[in-house]
Amino acid sequence: MLSALEPSSEILHPDYTSFIPARTRRRMTDGLKMAAVCAKDCLAQIGLEQPDAIAVGTSMGCSLFTKKFLKKIVSFEGGLLSPTSFMLSTHNTIAGQISLLLGNHQYNMTHTQNTLSFEHALLDGMMHIEEGQNNVLVGAADEREEELYNIKERLHNQDVILTCGASFFILSSHASKTNPIKLVDVKSLGLVENVKLKVLQLLKANDWLAKDIDLILYASSHQTTKKELSELFEVGQLFDYQRVSGLYFTNSAFALNYATDILSRGKHPVEAKSVKKILICNNIIPENLGLMLLEHC
């Protein structure tokens, strides 16, 4: 099991040099570098050169570059303004830079719906598989940027650690021989009033019963989510993934990564029992609900 984040925890940096050419790397923020490494590592793991589509979720995009350019504007007193931070500050810089690194000419999309940004990218990828593509790269990244936005205030001053992260995945039309995990469904719902009802509807649509689910990875900023979920599931099945991921807008991508690790091992992170089916329930913003169903097949 991954240990819980501590205020003293530090962000881990992989060896970026083996993934990103030096010239490109120098201009990149940590968030961009993390996303690029995850994307390239994903492709390397299955020996794939080019994905058939790329879909990325990010709430804040390249917020560090945005802030840098904003600061330049307010302190600007004539002369020339360097465009570099502006050029790299669009939300689709992450997905765009991945296409440049790979030389990929396929579909390239960026979804930016605060805490549901990743679910939207994942759904986009799932639709590409349904439309007949073989391998789709989906992922999410958000930077840690305390000054620029009020994420903690907006997310109800939770007692969780503000951080950043990137996670990428390959969705394939065929099951992996070594690690056959099925993304059964993904659902994104805005302006939700009844979380319990929406969870039940999704389970029913997929012929799943609440009792069949071995683990529920959930994130919430208020007590009601856990209360509603505990009316459907045993409390022991509920696991708050933000304890290990920390808080950032697209941390449900971390939850998917965590879920696939758990399913690969087949073991519950806390209890001595096997895990074959997982529900991820992202309800960080009370009115936004992201749901994912995963199964080891």
Partner: protein
């Protein structure tokens, strides 16, 4: 599966409604003017935030201009549609600025007064879309796309795919961007902001002028139509997004991404290049875009280029809204059998020799209209709208 367009709404520097936009396109009246405040050529929407708040009868007043412009255009498109349990309805908007207009005010205040107001800031794009959804009472799939200047076209494409996949029956799709200092300074810093009025596809073009606006479309499946009884305006028949993978902000000389997007969209629509009656080009008026796009147009249409125009000479470049605004203009072209002019054109680009339509033409049979939208990150999108046969 057929995808029906049953509602449109638009507001730009040339009008606050579909009818006003059509009239300005017809009489060749640009909305780009020199701003007294900034000294730059801008395409500003005539309504102030206060006027929009009053028109919509809003009680909350601290909305971003992005949300406000979006609400008005979305309401025009939505029209008399009603919410029904059996019609799965969604909203997909596109924006690049998000709540930037409000952040800029805070940032300037913080800088000038040495105050730390920065912690109160947010420019989450998604919140502007949620504001529009709340105003229209749409719940469920509420999404925002942000791929710079192709965002609006991508929102339309994404809505189409959600209907095609069976996840939605009806979706309001579009894009919105207000004029913000951030983008004005940004495009100026790139050296591509024209001092005078933009002259798309002209050999002597000097860059773009920014504009603001919003546009929304209602897309429906046949099943949705049978319940709503809405009359289709036309079909969304083809779409594609492809990537140039050449440079973060510049387009390739051979227009690879744009060529792929147009070819794939034609294939999706089961059409040939010769079937296209009108092209609303991306045509920003920058040296790089117009040269790259004309190379792509030559790749796709060869020497049989259909009538085309850049309506950015009317509205300015409205960034994330552009793809949606120009989609509405394509629908107007189909509906009225009209070709809209490109303004300020005099000399063809030497390398490609393409000549846009320069006057308003009626009584032209427009069966299929194609529109391009390209953005930073080499993001290239093409949409095709067709008359319902």
């Amino acid at each position: 599966m057929e995808l029906f367009v049953t509602g449109i709404g638009v507001m730009t520097a040339i009008g606050n409604t579909v009818a006003e936009n059509f009239h300005s396109l017809k009489v060749a009246r640009t909305g780009i003017q020199r701003s007294a405040k900034l000294g730059l050529m801008l395409g500003e929407v005539s309504f102030s935030n206060e006027e929009i708040i009053e028109k919509l009868g809003l009680t909350k007043i601290d909305y971003s201009r992005t949300t406000l412009l979006g609400m008005l255009a979305a309401k025009e498109a939505w029209g008399k549609n009603e919410h029904k349990e059996e019609i799965a309805t969604g909203l997909i908007s596109a924006t690049s600025a998000g709540g930037m207009d409000r952040i800029e005010k805070y940032f300037a205040q913080a800088h000038h007064e040495g105050m730390d107001t920065s912690r109160r800031m947010t420019y989450e794009n998604g919140r502007t879309t949620e504001g529009i959804a709340k105003e229209l009472g749409i719940k469920g799939y509420i999404g925002t796309i942000s791929t710079a200047c192709s965002s609006g076209a991508n929102a339309i494409m994404h809505g189409a795919r959600l209907i095609q996949s069976g996840r939605l029956d009806r979706v309001l799709v579009g894009g919105v961007d207000p004029l913000v200092d951030y983008n004005i300074k940004g495009f100026s810093s790139l050296g591509i902001y024209a001092e005078g009025i933009c002259t798309p596809f002209d050999q002597n073009r000097k860059g773009l002028n920014l504009g603001e606006g919003a546009a929304f479309l209602v897309l429906e499946s046949a099943a949705s139509l049978s319940i709503t009884g809405n009359k289709p305006l036309c079909l969304l028949s083809g779409w594609d997004n492809s990537t140039d993978a050449f440079h973060q902000t510049a387009s390739s000389a051979d227009g690879k991404g744009a060529t792929l997007a147009m070819k794939h969209a034609l294939k999706k629509a089961k059409l040939l290049a010769k079937d296209i009656s009108y092209v609303n080009v991306h045509g920003t008026g920058t040296q790089n875009n117009d040269l790259s796009e004309s190379a792509a147009l030559r790749n796709v249409f060869g020497h049989k280029m259909p009538p085309f125009s850049s309506t950015k000479s009317f509205t300015g470049h409205t960034l994330a809204a552009a793809g949606a605004i120009e989609a509405v203009y394509c629908i107007l072209s189909l509906r009225s059998n009209a070709i809209f002019p490109s303004l300020n054109f005099s000399t063809p680009i030497k390398a490609t020799g393409l000549i846009p339509a320069t006057s308003f033409r009626e009584k032209v049979e427009v069966k299929h209209a194609l529109t391009n939208a390209f953005g930073f990150g080499g993001n290239c999108t093409c949409l095709i709208f067709s008359k319902k046969m």
